[in-house]
Symmetry: C2
Subunit: 234 residues, 2 copies
Amino acid sequence: MDIDAALFDVFGTMTDWRSGVSGELASVGDRVGVRADWHAVTDDWRRKYVPTLGAVVSGAAPWRSLDGLHRVMLDEVLAERGLDAIGEADRERLVLAWHRLRPWPDAPAGLEMLHGSPVITSALSNGGVGQLARLTKQAGLRFDCILSAELARTYKPDRRVYLRAAELLGIEPGRLLMVACHPDDLEGAAGAGFRTAYIPRPLEWGPEAAPVPTPSDVDLVADDAVELARALTG
Amino acid sequence: MDIDAALFDVFGTMTDWRSGVSGELASVGDRVGVRADWHAVTDDWRRKYVPTLGAVVSGAAPWRSLDGLHRVMLDEVLAERGLDAIGEADRERLVLAWHRLRPWPDAPAGLEMLHGSPVITSALSNGGVGQLARLTKQAGLRFDCILSAELARTYKPDRRVYLRAAELLGIEPGRLLMVACHPDDLEGAAGAGFRTAYIPRPLEWGPEAAPVPTPSDVDLVADDAVELARALTG
């Protein structure tokens, strides 16, 4: 595939948000003395993501950073589950759990392989620039560039995010590849003229989750980030 | 020094623009069959940088990318030196010489040392985002983040560039360190509330250039990027 840069989704595609966030929720719960199914709380939190960000994309809600939106969503989830014992300082700390996620095991090696190739790699995430810099550094995810939906003041899958990334890289959309485990992200990218690569992440929502069907309208399907790097450099 | 992130100037501080650009000018000259003192042509080109970018900062000229400004400056220099034989395609290629610079010998190792520390590293350059991604990748300069004056639509040493970087990183200016070999860059950063570190680059303008006096009003002076990393992590 003749491309100049590969842009990666981060939450779900390169990092395992569910273990990281539920682990931090559990440790706050232990300390505060409240019990809950922390995986279910985490899933509730994440399920609010698409509608909450969608309201910003549609213009129904004003632009706000992902940290700010994560806080609003967390307050809703804790209220719905009667977890009011978790106080202000812990809520602030829990928002930052999304800055400290672990990578999927293949993700660092795949990025290192691409770093050694002519293909430029970048994050292209709904996370903020600072959040992504911290997250990718501590997770050992070596990107050549950090790009965020924040730079377009909207969120994926709004096509303006992908077009802004193309503009900032100075690369035409047809020579850019979006890599994600979320079909809606790839559809948004394709709508902006990007090539698309799908990586399945069957454990994103935990081992019990229903399998996501592989989208048929993508340019490439790779089992993981190392397979993707092989396909792009081989 | 208690900081969260170190932001680096790139042209001059981490890369040797003079050898890279004059080498590409010389090879174009050879091919076209024109002779000139290519170091002097390069120095002329670079001397136009401060007034040309200054006109954007003051509002006298509209915002334009650094590639666009480099092209305007190159056309001026070639006209002044009677080098009209260098044609359109070569001029476009020469602008991209600023995307392919070599690092100073200590720069990659200094950044690797900081990568292994809790301090976030970022470029903060007048180069564009795409230019910086390409340049730092091929030069082996490992930054955790890429930030550009382009994201503030002005140029250093305009304090809005530093404030925009602080905003995007989500870090207060007093916990950010600007690293540069140019006193005006450090003054601009200090004006935005940043800490400042000076690295002398006595060869920036070639071995014959007059020495630059070390500025006295900075927080740290380090001989090179490795010494800086030692000072920040030791």
